[in-house]
Amino acid sequence: MLATLSAAMLADTSGQALAHASAWAVFAVGAAMILTGAAGVILLRNPVHSALMLVVTLFGVALEFIDESADFLAAVQIIVYAGAVVILFLFVIMFLGVDRKEAIAAEPTKLQKPLAALMGLVVLVEILALSRVDHWASGAPAQSGVLNGPGDNVQKLGQAVYTGYLLPFEMTAALLVIAVVATVVLSKRSAGSPERSSQGDAELSGRAGDPEDSEVSL
């Protein structure tokens, strides 16, 4: 709805100011949702809460998609992410019973947290700095089809996917099949293997043998 509305506003020169204002409003709401959600994901200690905050972020992203007139993607974003992926997350959390609170403060390696924060900041700064660089975009006409031409978004997207991007599209199909098979194989319980073996514990935590033994000294 919003999309059609905004599209109509764009077409209508008289409603430019309104359209402008509404676009800003949508952007602001979406941005707020995104940032709140992201902060929630990384800061909340309960995984269930994190998952719910992820939903908020995903919805915010969908809003921004609408604002950028990517109607189809906005729909897909909500259906696939909010509808499937997050549900999957919640399902696993519940299924495994790991909805315990995590002690975020405790950290085995000291420098991990400050360095990680610093790195996030530096990445941000660098990306912003890079975005100031404009000579990478050639400004050449689009190759795979224009965005602003006649027809609605879904039609143009379908056109592109089933013509120019047919091969990658087919490959994603193959990828999905592989993912399905992989999931089945991974979750299949091998016959005779104990549920939680102490041996498996040792193996995974790297305590199977003292690594000092394998030293070669001259």
């Binding site: 993607l73 990306i127 965005l147 399905v180 999931t183």
Partner: protein, 101 residues
Amino acid sequence: MSVPSAWYLVLAAVLFGMGATGLLIRRNVLIMFMCIELMLNAVNLTFVTFARLLNDIGGQVDVLFVLVVAAAEVVVGLAIIVALFRRRAAATADDIHILKG
């Protein structure tokens, strides 16, 4: 006109940074996956923004592909987590460090 592209890009960059930081800070494997989703969404946002900026439908197509790959990744990743949990109650990523040198 609508909101300038730069705003979207900055937003995406912030989202990406938060996702990356979260990935490095959190120890719960599931939340680490969620952080990856955040980063992917940041990228998606960037794609869409550039699609608008350059008037190219290709950006949106790419987002479609990222969605598919992300879904597949989540499915397989969660399957791995399930398999791991089955062998032992590895609540966090730090409990698994068999590669310690």
